[in-house]
Amino acid sequence: MQASSKPGLSVNIVTNTGTATHGETASLPMRMTISKVDFYYGSKQILFDINMGIADKRVTALIGPSGCGKSTLLRALNRMHETVHTSRLEGEIQLDGQNILAQDVTTLRRRVGMVFQRPNPFPKSIFDNVAYGLRINGIKGSISEMVEKSLRRAALWEEVKDHLHKSAYELSGGQQQRLCIARALAVEPEVLLLDEPCSALDPISTAKIEELLVELKNLTTIAIVTHNMQQAARVSDFTAFVLTGQMIEFSATPQLFTTPSDPRTEAYITGRFG
């Protein structure tokens, strides 16, 4: 089932957290829309005519084999692709109806945050890591309150509340990643992008972060790239399957994993793919 690029998406809302409103359709608001997007590194085209939306307060997952372009697509959503000089984006990406390419990039990145594959805390204390975004964006208010709020939302507060001034590098991998999530949440982004956030973590840490994401979507819209499709099945409400730069299928997660409409999707999720 293809989504149109108009804001609003008609889908069967049999969402992942089980409220099987069987057969009911509703129009969900889209936080971000991606229309006719092509992407190039120099002369090589990576993404071909991508059209999809990121539904408000839901988790949208991008799956596909390695090198299919899903990370490239994600990074375009907060214009991180611009750190590579030869990259070129054509088409339109909108946040709340406004073209992100026309906005100031640092303001955009405050509204669309990102968590990376490898935990990348700064060489600072735990407190300073979370406060970083607040400080550089000149956000007013009680920094320590906001830091605490973020750490609680990232389910890390209890573990670090007595050690806020220790170096972030003393935390375990899973904790560091939750710290990065807290850091991103501190500036209260409207959208949170996660690029394979659990691929460097052990199963228990992964499970904790998955549960965290399911809770966080009440707070902020989430888009996640994962090479682990079971993870997409477990946590996402919508899934997009990307193959060699093309969006093959984009639909509600239960649909995509039980009755995919494209044979390529079926081949991938049943593991018959190379």
């Binding site: 992942n16 957290t17 089980g18 099987a20 499970a207 904790k208 549960e211 477990r234 239960p254 994993f257």
Partner: protein
Amino acid sequence: MERHFEKDLNELKERLLWMGSLAERAVHQSVHAMLDTDEQLAKRVLDEEDAINELQLEIDDRVVQLLALHQLMAADLRFVLAVSRINNDLERIGDQAVNIAQGALRILRHPRVKPYVDLPRMSELVEEQVRNALNAVVRRDVELAQKVMATDDQVDHYRDQIFRELLTYMMGDSSVVFPAFELILVAKNLERIGDHATNIAEDVIYIVQGQDIRHPSVDRR
């Protein structure tokens, strides 16, 4: 750590138990419609059949989703698979209850063939079987499940008894053949309901102990 799919598992269980209570009620009402010659009751059973069938579809949908999305293991996996089977048994129980109600409607105008003695006893036994089977699911009670399975012989015995008795009546008086035959069918329906309850009990053992105890005569080596 609580996982979010546990909520889905609990909802699945709730829906199944709700279906079970509807099926139980259908059995009770259809039997009494027949024993008490109650036309209204019989019609009510027919009206409520849809609800049971809808639940079957809903539960199957949920099962497919849970399996596809959550990579269930061990007890969770067995539970969901068992739910899928119990789902079918409950729907069949509903069907059998409808059959009984339809039979009741057909012999509404006919005088009683004989005082109902064994039929009420048999129906009580079967209703108890259904009730116990569902309780065994809720409580994961292996002993209760085994009790349900043990009752099956008795139920079969009642069916044979009723059959023999009514056969005698039919041979003696040809005018009672129609209602007597319907009563035999009712006994058959009840026995089938009992079988389905026994299936449910076997599924409980599968959920709890991981053993598939169907068809003990089959060599599973």
